[in-house]
Amino acid sequence: MKIKKFIFITFIAMTCTFTGCEYDNFTEPTSTLHGRIVYGGEPVGVRTNGPQLELWDEGQELSAQFPIHIAHDGTFSAVVYDGEYKLVRKANSPWLPALTDTVVVQVNGHTEIDIPVQPYFTVSNNNIQQNEGIVTVTFTLNKIVETANLDNVNLYFGKNILIDDIRHDHKSSFAGADVTIDGTNTVTAHIPEHLSGLGYIFVRIGVKASASSELYYTQVQKIDL
C-alpha cells in the first residue's frame, strides 16, 4: 500500500514537471526585422560595431530600448516579436541625429524596411583604379547638411573586408582644405609594401564631418593587384 502511494506521488510530480513549463515560458521571438540605412536610395556605409539605432518597445508600463547594431554595408537585422516599434536615429553617427523624429515600424513576420538618414556628406561616382602599385580614386563629395564642416577624407586599404577608421592595414588622409566639396576630386595613394604582395586588397573611402566622431563610408571595393 505504502509503495503504491509512493509511486502515485512520484507520477504526479513528474507530470507536473514535464507539463508545467508551458505556463511560465515565453516562446522566443520569431519575426525578423531586416533593414538598410539609406540616403537617396543608396545604402550608407558605417564602421562595424560603430553607430547604432535604438528600437523602442512602447506600450509596456515602462519604456525599454534595445540597440540595433549596423553592419559595415549599412544593413541591420533583429529578431523581435510582432508588433509596433519605434526606431530612433541616434547621435554620434555620420548622419543628423533625429532623436524626436522616430520611425514607426510595424513588424509582422519577415519585415523589410529602409531607414532614411541625412548624412553630413556623401560620396558618389567613386571610381577606383590601380596601376603599378598606385591607387587612383576619383569621387564626388556632396555636402548634404548645409551647416556641416569637413574634417578630412580618408582612403583605407585592408587585407580583410572589414575596414574602417579603426580597423585597417593602411590609411591615407587628405585634409578637408584640400578636398573640393560638391565637386570631383582625384586622390592617389601608394600601396604599402606589406600589402603589395597580395593578390587583392579591399579599398574604402571615409569622410569625417566635424559634428560626429563616426565617419561616412563608401561600400567596400575589392581590387585585384
Binding site: 560595431n49 519604456s63 530600448q65 554620434n92 574634417d151
Partner: protein, 619 residues
C-alpha cells in the same frame, strides 16, 4: 493571627517603598539606538562619519587594480578570467555613477543633526555638519565629472502618498551649476573644518581647498577645451557643456585655492630621502603627513587592502596565488623624460637599426626621471633590496642575426657550447618573466612599484597591506597651480612645475618655457595610477584622440619591452643585453574612447522614474 499581620505589613511595605525605583524598570533597549542618542554622542557620530568617508567614490582609484588596467598606463596580466580588460571597448555606461543613496544618507544626517543634537558642543556640531557637507560636495564632484549636470538634492525627498510624485522629480542642473555648488559648499564649510587640522583622514580646511583646487580646474578646462572642439559636446539646456566665458573665473578660483594650500606651513613636498627614486616611492608608502593632504587609511588586522597581493613582482609574492596583475605599458615608461630634458623614448636601437647592447639591463633606464624607478619595476631594478630576475630570454647569434629564444619555464637555464666546445648554462627566462601570453607574470616586461607595499606579509592574503590611499597630495596641488597659472598667462606658472621636478630629481629650473604638453605629461608621470588620467584626458577633450582605437596608436595599444641576454660565445657582446618591443598577445583590442564616453549614459530606470531628466549627448 500575628502571622497574618506581619505578612500584610510586609506586602504593604513592598508596594509603598518599591515604587520609588520606577526608573529601574525603564531600561534603554540594548539593540536600538535612538535618534536622540545617536545625534548627541560624538563617538557614535564619528563612527557614522567613518561609514560615509569609507563610501567616498573612486573610479580607477583606492587600490582598484582592475580599473587601473583599463587605460593606457597598464594592462591586465593577472588571472585570465578578467582578460576582458585587455579586450573591451568603453561602453556607453562606462564610468556611470548615480549614487543618490549616499546623497540621501548625508541629507538625512544633516537634517537629523539639526533636529536632535542638543548636547553637542556648538563647535563640534558645526564640525560634523561641515564634514557631512564636505563629503556631499565630494560626491557631487564625482557625479558631475562622470555624468555632467545632475539634479542637486540637498534635502530628503519624502513621498506623501497623494498619488502625484512630480514634486519629487528634480530636473538636472546645468553642468556649471554643479561645479558652483561644490565650490560654494566648500567655501561655506572650510573654516569650520579647521578643528581637524592635524588629521589626514578626516576633512580639514586644506582638504576643502584641495577639492576646490581640483574641481575648479576641471570646470575651467571643460569650459575652455570643450569650446575648442570642432563640435562642442553640449545639451540645449546646459546640462552638459560650460560656456567658454567662464573659464578664466574658474582658473582663478582654482589657483587661489592652490596658493592658499602652498602657503600653509604644515604641508610641503616630501623630500626625506636623497635617493630620489626611493624618495618618490616612500612618499606614498610611508604615510607622510606633510605630502598627503587627505588619505584613506588602512590597518593590518582591522582593514587592510590587497593591492600588494594583486601586483607584487612574481617571485616576491608570499602567497600561492595572484601577483603581477597590473603591468605598466611601454608608452607609460617612455613618458618619463631623461634627466637632461630629452624626450623619454628608450634607446633600443641605434640610427642604423642595430640593437644597442647594454652591460646590465638597468643601464637602459639610467639617467631617466627618478620617478620611473619609484613607480615601475623594470629589468635590473631592485625590490625589497634584491634584484628582480627579469629576462625574457636569450638572443642567440645565428646566421648573421639574433634569434630570440624564450622558455615557458620561468627560471630555467639555457645550454650552449662555448668556443672550446664545453657546455655552458645561462639564465634563460627569468623567475619574474616577462613571458608573453602567460598568467600571473608580467606580459609587458614591467611591474608596478607605486603603492605596492614592501612591508613583511603585505602580499599574503592573511596579512595584506596597510599603506594608505592618497585622495589629495601636494604633488597634485603644484600641478594644479601650474596649469591654472599657465592658462591665466601668469609668468610664475613654470616655477610650480620646476619645484615639483626638483623634488623628483631634476636640476633646478629644468624647464625654461612651459607648454600645455609639458603640463599634461607631468601629470601623467607624477600622478600615475592615482585616478587622474582618465578624467584629465576627458576634461582636456583629448581622450578620443589619445585612445583612438587604432592599432598604430601609441597610447591606444599597450606595448611591452622584453630584455634578452646575448649568447654569442667569443664575441665581446656575449653576455650583454638587448631589448625588443612586443605587442603582448593577451592585449587584444586597442583602447577606443568614443564621443559618447565623455559623459556616461544615465540608466534607463532612472530616466523612467524621472521624466524631467534629459539624456546625455550621444545616448
Amino acid at each position: 493571627m500575628k502571622y497574618i499581620y506581619i505578612t500584610i505589613a510586609l506586602i504593604t511595605l513592598l508596594f509603598t517603598v518599591s515604587c520609588k525605583h520606577d526608573e529601574w524598570l525603564h531600561r534603554d533597549p540594548k539593540d536600538i539606538i535612538t535618534d536622540e542618542q545617536l545625534w548627541n554622542d560624538p563617538v557614535l557620530l564619528t563612527s557614522l562619519l567613518a561609514n560615509y568617508y569609507d563610501r567616498l567614490p573612486q573610479m580607477h582609484g583606492v587600490f582598484n587594480t582592475g580599473g587601473m588596467a583599463e587605460i593606457d598606463d597598464a594592462m591586465w596580466s593577472g588571472h585570465r578570467d578578467q582578460n576582458w580588460r585587455n579586450d573591451f571597448q568603453y561602453g556607453d555606461d562606462y564610468g556611470r555613477y548615480w549614487d543618490y543613496d549616499l546623497i540621501r544618507d548625508i541629507n538625512l544626517s544633516l537634517e537629523n543633526i539639526e533636529e536632535y543634537s542638543i548636547n553637542l558642543e556648538p563647535e563640534q556640531k558645526q564640525l560634523f555638519i561641515a564634514e557631512l557637507r564636505f563629503i556631499r560636495a565630494f560626491v557631487y564632484f564625482e557625479l558631475v565629472k562622470r555624468m555632467g549636470g545632475v539634479p542637486i538634492v540637498t534635502e530628503q525627498l519624502i513621498y506623501d502618498f497623494a498619488g502625484d510624485p512630480t514634486y519629487l522629480q528634480i530636473p538636472r542642473a546645468k553642468e556649471h551649476e554643479v561645479y558652483d555648488f561644490v565650490y560654494d559648499e566648500l567655501e561655506a564649510v572650510k573654516d569650520a573644518l579647521s578643528l581637524n587640522k592635524t588629521s589626514r583622514t578626516r576633512a580639514n580646511t586644506v582638504t576643502a581647498l584641495a577639492l576646490q583646487s581640483r574641481a575648479m580646474l576641471y570646470a575651467a578646462s571643460i569650459a575652455k577645451y570643450n569650446a575648442q572642439m570642432s563640435a562642442p559636446i553640449s545639451t540645449p539646456g546646459g546640462e552638459v557643456g560650460i560656456p567658454a566665458s567662464m573659464a578664466n573665473d574658474y582658473y582663478t578660483k582654482s589657483l587661489n585655492a592652490s596658493k592658499a594650500i602652498l602657503s600653509n606651513p604644515d604641508y610641503s613636498l616630501y623630500d626625506a630621502n636623497s635617493d630620489k627614486g626611493a624618495n618618490f616611492y616612500d612618499m606614498l608608502n610611508s604615510k607622510s603627513s606633510t605630502e598627503v593632504i587627505f588619505a584613506k587609511d588602512f590597518k593590518v588586522g582591522v582593514k587592510p587592502h590587497r593591492f600588494t597581493y594583486d601586483n607584487i613582482v612574481k617571485s616576491f609574492t608570499e602567497d600561492n596565488e595572484s601577483s603581477s596583475t597590473l603591468t605598466p605599458s611601454l608608452s607609460f615608461v617612455e613618458s618619463f623624460e631623461y634627466l637632461d630634458g630629452s624626450t623619454g623614448a628608450l634607446r633600443i636601437k641605434d640610427g642604423s637599426g642595430n640593437y644597442i647592447r647594454y652591460e646590465h639591463p638597468s643601464d637602459l633606464f639610467a639617467e631617466k626621471d627618478p620617478r620611473l624607478s619609484g613607480t615601475v619595476v623594470y629589468p635590473g631594478a631592485t625590490f625589497k633590496g634584491k634584484e628582480v630576475s627579469m629576462q625574457a630570454g636569450v638572443a642567440v647569434w645565428e646566421n648573421g642575426g639574433y634569434q630570440f629564444r624564450t622558455s615557458a619555464v620561468l627560471g630555467s637555464q639555457y645550454e650552449y657550447k662555448d668556443e672550446s666546445g664545453a657546455t655552458q648554462r645561462v639564465l634563460w627566462t627569468g623567475f619574474d618573466g616577462p613571458l608573453d601570453n602567460a598568467q600571473d607574470v608580467s606580459n609587458t616586461g614591467f611591474y608596478i612599484r607605486k603603492f605596492v607595499s614592501d612591508a613583511p606579509g603585505a602580499s599574503a592574503r592573511g596579512t595584506s597591506a596597510e599603506n594608505w590611499w592618497p585622495w589629495f597630495r601636494m604633488g597634485e596641488i603644484y600641478l594644479n597651480a601650474a596649469e591654472a597659472a599657465f592658462e591665466l598667462g601668469e609668468a610664475d606658472a613654470v616655477n610650480y612645475i620646476n619645484t615639483l621636478r626638483e623634488r623628483a630629481g631634476f636640476a633646478p629650473n629644468s624647464i625654461a618655457t612651459l607648454t600645455t604638453d609639458i603640463i599634461r605629461n607631468e601629470r601623467r608621470v607624477e600622478l600615475a595610477f592615482e585616478d587622474h588620467r582618465f578624467f584629465d584626458l576627458k576634461r582636456w577633450r583629448i581622450a578620443h584622440l589619445v585612445w583612438n582605437g587604432s592599432e598604430s596608436g601609441v597610447n591606444a595599444v599597450v606595448r611591452g619591452l622584453y630584455s634578452y641576454q646575448i649568447v654569442r660565445p667569443g664575441h665581446p657582446d656575449h653576455g650583454k643585453y638587448i631589448f625588443e618591443t612586443i605587442r603582448p598577445t593577451r592585449f587584444r583590442r586597442a583602447r577606443l574612447f568614443r564621443m559618447a564616453n565623455y559623459y556616461s549614459s544615465i540608466d534607463q530606470n532612472v530616466l523612467n522614474n524621472n521624466p524631467k531628466l534629459v539624456r546625455n549627448p550621444f545616448h
